[in-house]
């Protein structure tokens, strides 16, 4: 189990809790991560809306680097993941585009063939390491903690291009939560969008879309929300205070975690090593409960 680790703009710029917790936990599960040199943005959503060719160039460029390393690539962002998947399909379907991409890649000493596979973090944990592989390493079971799973749009849709999990009834993140001893259950808003991509054109609507989901999660009695997407996390965690203001709900309080953060707590890592000091939502109660530091 060895992958080229692709961070992506958002993770490497400010989602350090995700990166730190991935680097802390995956090696403990026998997954080796190799950093990538020379990479760039994946092109989504920056270029996909204005220059489809530019978008595929950037994604293919990063895939070409993974190819050169002889490794499959693990992007930490749902958006980058889908971007790579879309580019693989686009270049396969359009040899002309592939040729143009390669003619330009040549100038950068690169070549895209399409041999590097793209894997999602949920696939690595659920399908490769497996629930048993995780369970046997758990030192602290997350007993009595109820966590809502939020896989995020770009991890599960569109099902004609990718099969990380079922598009309408995803269960893998739930299974991974249960593998740590925590509880989870389905809820109607589980596969709903966080709205973060709307921020570029309408900030207020973004906050309302995210707020409705957080209110629902709180109303069902969950102790927190768990995701593997940096865009969704930034929305639900980083902007939770703004969301409270936008929807006028002062009682809204939902601790938000990256899956690898709670995985790390279960594996015995310290909260600091998992970057939990950077979560902006009120996570202390849940963390203390897990570590047995309450009352």
């Amino acid at each position: 189990m060895k992958y080229a680790l692709y961070l992506g703009c958002t993770v490497q710029s400010d989602q350090y809790g995700f990166e730190a917790s991935v680097r802390e936990t995956l090696p403990k599960l026998g997954v080796e991560l190799v950093d990538m040199d020379d990479v760039s943005c994946c092109g989504f959503p920056a270029l996909s809306s204005v220059s489809v060719t530019g978008w595929h160039y950037l994604s293919a460029r990063n895939l070409a680097i993974a190819e050169k390393m002889g490794l499959d690539v693990l992007p930490l962002c749902n958006g980058c993941h889908l971007s790579f998947i879309e580019t693989i399909h686009a270049l396969e379907a359009d040899p002309g585009l592939k040729e143009i991409v390669n003619r330009n890649l040549e100038k950068e000493g690169l070549h895209y063939e399409g041999t590097a596979k793209v894997v999602h973090l949920i696939e690595v944990l659920h399908d490769v390491v497996g629930v048993e592989g995780i369970s046997e390493k758990v030192k602290t079971r997350l007993e009595g903690v109820k966590l809502a799973a939020h896989p995020g749009c770009h991890a599960i849709r569109p099902s004609d291009l990718q099969k990380v999990d079922d598009a309408e009834n995803p269960q893998k993140l739930d299974t991974l939560i249960k593998a740590l001893g925590a509880e989870t259950f389905d809820y109607p808003e589980k596969i709903d969008c966080c709205g973060s991509q709307l921020a570029v054109s309408s900030g207020r609507s973004t906050l309302k879309i995210a707020g409705e989901k957080l209110q629902a999660v709180q109303s069902y009695g969950f102790d927190g929300l768990v995701t593997t997407c940096p865009f969704c996390f930034k929305m639900y965690d980083g902007r939770q205070r703004a969301i409270k203001g936008a929807i006028g709900d002062r009682s809204l309080e939902v601790p938000v975690f990256y899956y690898t953060q709670i995985l790390g707590l279960a594996l015995g890592s310290s909260p600091e090593k998992l970057g939990l000091q950077m979560n902006q939502s009120p996570v202390d109660g849940v963390v203390n409960k897990i570590l047995g530091d309450d009352e």
Partner: protein, 172 residues
């Protein structure tokens, strides 16, 4: 400007028009509304409705559509693509409309220029920030023991290539 990219743009635009307009006859879309009922933006923003958008494409109202700011409000959640029984995918149509609007020099959110400039300057839309800790203080990648961020090895060559591709699409 390299001619292969220019040629590609001409092909792209005609292909996109063919896909979004030529093949989209009224009878292809049943106007069932599964897209709109799934759409998170339709609930919040008046004027954004994927079902109506497809109807307007089928009616050939391209000028009006390309200038409509609503095409920039899609969150790319892909539920419409997932649930469309005719495999029309309003998401993909919206992506085409955005690309065409950008090429036509029509209005688009300024944020996209920031994204593009970031990519051309450093290879990424954003650069590493100092992040606020919940208990106070700020943390950098270095302070957390995370490795430094390395962009494209030869930024000059990278920038030249990406700039040409984007400019070719901008139309002039």
């Amino acid at each position: 400007m390299s001619s292969d990219v220019d040629q590609r743009e001409v092909e792209f635009i005609s292909l996109m028009l063919q896909k979004s307009v030529g093949e989209m006859h009224a009878e292809v879309c049943d106007q069932c509304g599964k897209c709109s009922s799934a759409c998170p933006v339709s609930k919040e923003i008046e004027g954004f409705n994927p079902r109506q958008l497809i109807a307007r494409v089928a009616l050939g109202k391209m000028d009006e559509l390309l200038a409509d700011e609503a095409i920039w409000t899609c969150t790319t959640c892909l539920k419409c693509r997932e649930r469309c029984p005719e495999e029309i995918s309003p998401y993909d149509v919206i992506l085409v409309l955005r690309n065409l609007a950008y090429r036509a020099g029509l209005n688009y959110p300024g944020g996209y220029d920031d994204f593009i400039n970031g990519i051309l300057e450093r290879g990424f839309i954003s650069e590493p920030q100092e992040v606020r800790a919940r208990g106070g203080g700020k943390l950098s990648r270095g302070a957390l023991g995370l490795p430094g961020v390395k962009g494209p090895k030869d930024m000059g060559v990278f920038r030249g290539i990406v700039e040409k591709i984007i400019e070719a699409g901008k139309g002039n």
